[in-house]
């Protein structure tokens, strides 16, 4: 009869929690200003912040950022849709599993960045090749999560639903998909992190715009403070995306103990 949730351990205040970041920024500033490291290798933190503000005002950060987010979002959305469907059908159908299982096993450990030249060869320098790369690279973690989750569906739950008249797709939607959800969403979290890696590396290598391209361009032209500003921006967007994602997952899975 424990309807009242157990009290959570008190979380430290936000300022306390992220104090190490502040210390890191101060150490960075000091190391650069005191010439402990070359300011070329590590421009002072305040210079980086200033460069960031300039990039924002010029609109370059926003236009390149939007372009990157579009690529990552589209690739990830495709990966989640196709990956979930594949994983769930592999779990419920032996022939599908026999067909796709070995392919998934073979391609899962492959470093997906090796596909960068291939996707460029197929779809050129624009958005298409990045979206395809992110789609291919992010699909398998989702597939494996969905597969493991769906395979773990409780037999008694399926029988219960059947005795209440659920069949076919209805059964999959009502029982198998929700059963798979916790592991599937874990797979999506991995995919989310992978999408940033693939996005930036593909844009660094071949692209005309995007945050990765901006990093490469600024680096090649010696604007190191601006380059660091974009690197930090990418890191922050990745962190924010993961945080937002976890909050959404917590909400979706609130039925769990």
């Amino acid at each position: 009869m424990t309807v009242v949730p157990a009290p959570k351990a008190a979380a430290p205040h936000v300022l306390v929690r992220y104090a190490p970041l502040l210390i890191l920024a101060l150490a960075w500033e000091a190391a650069s200003r005191l010439h402990l490291v070359s300011s070329l290798a590590l421009p002072p933190f305040t210079d980086v912040v200033q460069a960031w503000v300039e990039l924002l005002w010029s609109g370059e950060l926003v236009s390149n950022g939007l372009s990157s987010l579009y690529r990552a979002g589209a690739g990830l959305a495709l990966a989640i849709a196709v990956g979930s469907a594949l994983g769930i059908f592999m779990a419920i159908s032996r022939p599908v599993n026999a067909m796709l299982g070995p392919l998934v096993e073979l391609f899962y450990p492959m470093p997906k960045s090796a596909l960068i030249p291939v996707t460029v060869l197929w779809l050129g320098f624009g958005d298409g090749s990045k979206i395809l790369l992110i789609f291919l690279g992010c699909m398998l973690p989702v597939t494996i999560g969905a597969y493991n989750g769906a395979r773990g569906s409780d037999q008694h739950l399926i029988w219960s639903a059947r005795s209440m008249g659920a069949r076919g797709l209805r059964m999959i939607w009502d029982v198998v998909v929700p059963s798979a959800l916790p592991e599937l969403l874990n797979g999506v979290r991995t995919a989310l992190a992978l999408s940033f890696i693939l996005l930036v590396s593909s844009e660094l290598i071949v692209a005309r715009q995007g945050l990765g391209n901006l990093i490469g361009y600024l680096g090649a032209n010696g604007s190191y403070d601006a380059m660091f500003a974009v690197v930090l921006t990418v890191a922050f967007i990745g962190f924010l995306a993961d945080r937002v994602y976890q909050a959404v997952v917590e909400r979706v899975l609130r039925w769990r103990e």
Binding site: M1, T2, V3, D154, H156, L157, W159, S160, A161, R162, S163, M164, G165, A166, D174, V175, P178, L181, R254, W255, R256, E257
Partner: protein, 264 residues
């Protein structure tokens, strides 16, 4: 002349193949008749195939040899005429109590407000008023099993198949749930097949107790166990205690055999 039996099991045998090793004969030539509105307990040592027999009647497992008729029709799969209650409750953990109870009703052609009214009535019947919006993870074992019973009763099956439904509950909760189940059965008068390995529970709840042998499971004998269950002192009545002893002596031999057959 029509047969008064609602469920007829005739000469049913069932094999299963474990993940490793040889095929196992779980049930051998089982025959059983269950009358309409009867409360029958299937009693036997663990591994005797009593749950398997229940799953066969439920249509969850394919019937090898023999046949099973429910209301005159051969069983060919699960159906809403046979409601099932499992030991592990089998609630949808992602649905609230209300949505769990509504699930079976949603597959029926009923107007929405009628479904809601019915669901509420059965939530009230099992004493869970006020917990409609709770998730199963927030409930105790006894409460979860009440939800499962309410969910099954709500879509109005003609019979209840119960697979050790109180096996996972503590002793006090179990005894409470037993009297509540009897009260519900008195009210609804559905046919019940109740699988258990608890002699006391079987004698207390059922009108007849079918005692099964150790594997391969057969029906050893059927004992009449009708008493005045409304009597709060029934557990101490001599007739009741004698009946428990009688059934226990029948089961004990089988339990010993089951232990001896257990792989080392």
């Amino acid at each position: 002349m029509s047969d008064p039996a609602q469920i007829i099991v005739e000469d049913v045998s069932h094999h299963y193949r474990p993940a490793v090793g040889r095929e196992v004969l779980a049930l051998e030539n089982v025959s059983l008749r269950v009358r309409e509105r009867e409360f029958l307990a299937l009693l036997g040592p663990s591994g005797c195939g009593k749950s398997t027999l229940l799953y066969l009647i439920g249509g969850f497992l394919p019937i090898g040899t023999g046949k099973i008729l429910v209301d005159g029709k051969a069983v060919a799969g699960p159906g809403p005429d046979r409601g099932i209650v499992f030991q592990n409750f089998a609630l949808f953990p992602w649905k609230t109590v209300r949505k769990n109870v509504l699930y079976g009703l949603e597959r029926q052609a009923l107007p929405r407000h009628e479904r809601e009214t019915r669901a509420q009535a059965f939530i009230d019947l099992v004493g869970l008023t006020g917990f409609e919006e709770s998730y199963p993870s927030q409930l105790s074992g006894g409460m979860k099993q009440r939800v499962a019973i309410a969910r099954t009763l709500a879509f109005d099956p003609r019979m209840l198949l119960m697979d050790e439904p109180f096996g996972a509950l503590d002793a006090q909760t179990r005894s409470l749930m037993q009297s509540e189940l009897l009260a519900i059965w008195e009210k609804t008068r559905k046919t019940v097949i109740f699988v258990t390995h608890d002699v006391h529970e079987a004698v207390y709840l059922a009108e007849r107790v079918a005692v099964m042998t150790a594997r391969p499971g057969r029906i050893k004998t059927i004992v009449d166990t009708r008493f005045d269950k409304a009597d709060p002192e029934v557990h101490r009545a001599k007739a009741f205690v004698d009946k428990v002893d009688e059934v226990w002596s029948l089961v004990r031999d089988e339990a010993v055999k089951a232990l001896e057959k257990r792989p080392p």
